[in-house]
Symmetry: C2
Subunit: 168 residues, 2 copies
């Protein structure tokens, strides 16, 4: 059920930057809040290259009965309309490897970097990102894996629904 | 500003099916409603293979100050949560070539067919769709091109913002 949809898998970054480790915390907070709401624990933060947090978001499948509010799209949606130049100067931080929809959203708006917490529990559209010139960094964080593993074990059906899978 | 982001461009379908010409009308109605609201005139409809319309949607950038509510994502979002099997038995009708975000959303949920009104005024993620096994059909309809051309001429800045472009 959790089979990767892409062949490419980003290896963990050997020496993650202090900047990235600082900023992924905004996304992790969102994911933790999601778990407290019995939601899919995936968070995101759009951070400008000078460290300003433009916005944050989390998966709202359960909370809002939403099909398209993943961590990254909820983040983009909560921010609202922006001129193109703002996106181009930002990194998207997300606790989990971004799905194909969220990868496509980043490409659409010209976001040039994506930093993820991990890609072990799910492998999304990393190949699409990389083939469109987006820099992809995998921090390989145990804290992010723990959140997802706890959720998947407790609510496997909700997780499968979130990624378009279904037990027969 | 409207330069294609993909090399692949789907040629018009020489003999579109009655079924597809019937169902694209649901999406065109949505686009026309959008134009009346001074919104980006792009509509979508998710239609089950037996002709049942599962849901409809339209771009809400202007109406809701939304960054991620394109025709297709608004359609998926208005429908709400669905088990995976429903998507897999559906075609997404959209008045315009779907952007990379919307293409990624279709791939995520396993939608197997995408029928568009046209791809002359904008060329989106068709290459991504096709490389993931999605059947792509271009009806090449003048009515859809007219809606977009009217809007782009009247509100070029809004259109550029919708596709992550910006005049310097």
């Amino acid at each position: 059920m959790l089979a990767p949809k892409e062949v490419v898998k980003t290896p963990p970054t050997s020496s993650p930057s202090v900047f990235d480790l600082q900023n992924i915390r905004h996304a992790i907070f969102q994911a933790e809040q999601g778990l407290k709401e019995q939601g899919v624990p995936i968070g995101a933060a759009l951070v400008r290259n000078d460290g300003v947090v433009i916005g944050v978001g989390r998966n709202r499948r359960v909370q809002q009965k939403s099909a398209t509010r993943h961590g990254e799209t909820d983040c983009l949606e909560c921010i609202g309309r922006l001129p193109a130049s703002v996106y181009k100067d930002c990194t998207m931080y997300t606790t989990l490897s971004p799905c194909t929809m969220c990868s496509g959203a980043m490409i659409l708006f010209g976001i040039k970097r994506c930093v993820m917490g991990e890609n072990e529990t799910f492998l999304g559209g990393e190949g699409i990102l990389q083939s469109h010139g987006v820099e992809v960094v995998n921090l390989n964080l145990d804290s992010c894996k723990k959140l997802m593993n706890e959720f998947i074990e407790r609510y496997p059906d909700v997780w499968n629904e979130d990624i378009g899978e279904e037990d027969k």
